[in-house]
Subunit: 524 residues, 2 copies
């Protein structure tokens, strides 16, 4: 038996943009749409043309692209009550978008029609049918059945009738939406089968659109596919309102790599998923989710020493798939729980292979530092410098001589908090001395360090601080505890992490800052 | 038919601590264990006593608590090969933990035994059986079958034999672990049924332990329960290695509120889940996950205008459960209006019941501060002072006039890091001026404040700082980001939390320190 084709329908640009903190510019939308088409997504829902000018412009521009087999869809609701479809502003906006495909959303739940829309059940059916018929004259129509599962539970006969109204009017796909996101997989399976049975005389296809409110969006999508659905709607990284939509990354990876009998993206491989995931996060200006299945930075990260030992012997005992299949990679975390094998694995990436004596020295130094509260899992650049230092291949670009911060408030003046830093350092034989103000002592220190070095190293201009994290290592000791500072820096090519530990937060920050700059200068 | 009881087994303190960036102090572990016991979690896995001193100390201390029906478990592996159980250091460490329950992990997968452990299949069975028998003399034994699903797929007969070896030796629970996290729900269901069938003559119970590598951990846990499992292992917020463990928050909420026929936490309600989730994030110093199902800040947040309108008409059309059932609340994103019901609840604890005007003033002040990055979950003492201030019943015991810290290192002297603080304040009309040194600027500030106040308030002698936490609130802004400082203080009677927020860590610490001292003086 040949594999069943499952169409992937992306709504990152429409439903995804409902997510808290998500907002795409026109250019962002065009860029994402082109990426999605490149990897072979079947449908891209571009927006809601009635709602705003940006979406109208998106459809005008994307029309000029050649997106191969990918179809762009405009999204909108059924016509208003007591109005002809041809006169409805929403219908007109959909037609004006000139997309090959239109996604029409309608009401399934009797209660919703009568109590929220204030229309009769028959009028609702007419709104669905007439809208689908009107839009179908110039485009393929996908019918999104809002609240299908809640509607089916309330009134199964009517819920099926709404699908039949769309199907009779020529819509090709009936998409069952779990709008509230609270349906369980066994209910999704059962109701999907009922929807297929109820519409089989029209020869339509069934799709599924889930939300993650019960932490079951992916499972629900897979349950619907197993029950016979042939289209899955979702968003990249699962971004979307409340708890988000089904993450298409996980859906595609599960269908293509784990389940049997399905074909997605025309049989293409899944190697671009990690890159795609990160591209969408970056474009949406959202933090990556480290623990995201398949594509997260931690998805194939290993910490426990016992595990790492086993992984080196046989990766399949601790990895459910080869990370390369989704474009991700294994990471060995250097950590307090790790044994020798972790450090060897990391050092190997740094081209120190079989030097047993050097390896022992590195190991001893890591253990010594870990006992003081260091952790190198997010501080690869500091670890890199450590290896250079231990192996006597480290030549510093500058030598700090003194740093000092002063912070406090001015006598009896409200809101007079200040912070200043003084830096003295040498580059070669040349002495540099500078001072800077900042929002706080660490910000002042950072500004002072760059100021003092800017004359000797103009390349530091394109380096920036991305993230700054503070953690009390032994929190039981109150303000005398050790403090660990992690700094993430970046330039246009890469990002790198550094660390500092001290019972003095200023000293810890100073270490992490100077490591960050040294790493940048070493790689330049 | 009565509801089937599903036991909840929490491994936040052991498997959760394998998560990237997660590290608990001894005090953190004790605090979390007590919270878990309060809400009625059946089992708490406290740690791996062979691995480190901190876990040994945890078991020594938690033993003195009365945790009600909650059982604490120590975790460890089967005895080593070619060694008697009684002689094995791991076995001895488990017994020495003196817990009512011991969780023993053993190998299921034939390949893992022969190729990673280098033991024969029979020797592996003997290791399981002898270990379970030895540990069962003094404690209830839970047997965690590592890699059960992969092992079953490779060699079903042998996988079942490993369970039977544990059951024959007296273990009461067989927990099927999806160690790699890659198993699909339909496979979990089928293999769980096979495990029940294969062990039914021993009358043991079956548990499930899943990981989220396929984004299916919760679905897999529920699938196992539907197939007959009666125990679910997981972590609060799903923290854990790689993509994390099954999130017990979602598992409990689904079992108690959505699925039919199950009883969890002895039938208690789920109103504490949101509070518990946030408490664990705060203690682990991790960012909350806004979109987390059930308990995230966005889980019941509504953005789209249409939706908000519909929600106001009929909340069930856009909310899968009443957010109050899990202690969460609806948020309408147009206005950042947070937490009225929470604030009312907390204010009520502070004896402000029905003063509507005062309540509105408090609410407005909290919203204003939350927008600046404050959070009062762990800062009850600061909240107490806030209520006093807003209701004009606050009389300060002292008035800060100036504080200043200087920190840095001395010219070219290795290890010369220093920190000094200068404090000027008034008690009544009397001016006090003092200075102190410290391990870091905050420690110096703390020492200086106590020194300056010690003449006027000798009672401060029995007050001490217990914990100090620093968190970057808007971490995307680098070192210019807002910094939130939480301080926990104590005397012989109680402990209390205070908070400060500023873009200057010194100013934020100063707020939290002065609040801590004021609270102490107010209650004395």
């Amino acid at each position: 038996m040949t594999d069943r084709t499952i169409q992937i329908y992306d709504t990152t640009l429409r439903d995804g943009s409902q997510g808290e903190g998500v907002s795409f510019s026109l250019q962002d939308k065009l860029n994402i749409a082109r990426r999605l088409a490149e990897i072979g997504i079947d449908f891209i829902e571009g927006g809601y043309p009635l709602s705003n000018e940006k979406d109208v412009a998106f459809f005008q521009q994307i029309r000029k692209d050649n997106l191969g087999d990918t179809k762009v869809c405009a999204f909108g609701m059924t016509r208003r009550r007591s109005m002809k479809a041809a006169d409805d502003p929403g219908m007109k906006a959909l037609v004006a978008a000139e997309t090959p495909c239109i996604t029409l959303v309608g009401k399934t739940w009797d209660y919703h029609a009568t109590d929220v829309l204030n229309v009769t059940l028959d009028e609702n059916l007419a709104m669905i049918g007439e809208s689908a018929e009107f839009l179908g004259r110039g485009a393929e129509v996908i019918y999104d059945a809002e609240h299908f599962f809640d509607g089916y539970n309330a009134n199964p006969k009517y819920a099926i009738e709404t699908l039949r109204a769309a199907a009779a009017a020529g819509a090709k796909y009936m998409v069952l939406c779990d709008t509230n996101g609270g349906t369980l997989p066994e209910q999704v399976a059962e109701i999907t089968r009922a929807a297929i049975e109820g519409t089989k005389d029209y020869g339509v296809q069934i799709g599924i659109h889930t939300h993650n409110d019960g932490e079951l969006a992916v499972a629900n999508s897979l349950a619907a596919v197993d029950a016979g659905a042939t289209q899955v709607q979702g968003t990249i990284n699962g971004i979307g309102e409340r708890c988000g939509n089904a993450d298409l990354i996980s859906v595609m990876a599960n269908l293509a790599l784990k389940k049997k009998g399905y074909r997605v993206l025309g049989g293409r491989d899944m190697k671009h998923l990690t890159e795609l995931s990160r591209y969408v996060y970056e474009t949406a200006n959202l933090q990556w989710r480290g623990g995201q299945p398949f594509v997260g930075q931690s998805a194939f990260a290993h910490k426990g020493g016992m595990h790492v030992h086993a992984i080196n012997k046989a990766s399949k005992t601790y990895e459910h798939i080869d990370p390369a299949l989704v474009g991700n990679e294994r990471r060995i975390l250097v950590s307090e729980l790790s044994g020798r094998s972790n450090i060897v694995a990391v050092a190997t990436e740094h081209n120190i292979q079989n030097d047993r004596v050097l390896m022992d020295k590195i190991l001893a130094e890591v253990v010594r530092l870990e006992n003081k509260g260091y952790q190198f899992e997010n501080a690869g650049a500091s670890f890199d410098l450590l290896i250079k230092k231990v192996s006597d291949t480290f030549t510093p670009h500058f030598t700090p001589i003194k740093y000092r911060v002063v912070a406090g408030d001015r006598d009896s003046v409200e809101g007079s908090v200040f912070a200043e830093a003084i830096i003295k350092l040498k580059v070669g034989d040349e002495l540099w001395f500078d001072a800077a103000e900042g929002h706080g002592p660490v910000n002042a220190l950072d500004a002072g360090l760059r100021k003092a070095l800017s004359g000797a190293f103009p390349c530091l201009h394109d380096m920036r601080l991305i993230d700054y994290k503070v953690r009390v290592v032994d929190s039981g000791a109150g303000t005398a505890a050790s403090i660990r500072v992690n700094i993430e820096s970046g330039d246009e090519n890469e990002t790198w992490g550094t660390i500092g530990v001290s019972d003095n937060i200023i000293a810890a920050s100073w270490q992490a800052l100077t490591d960050a700059v040294e790493y940048k200068l070493h790689k330049t």
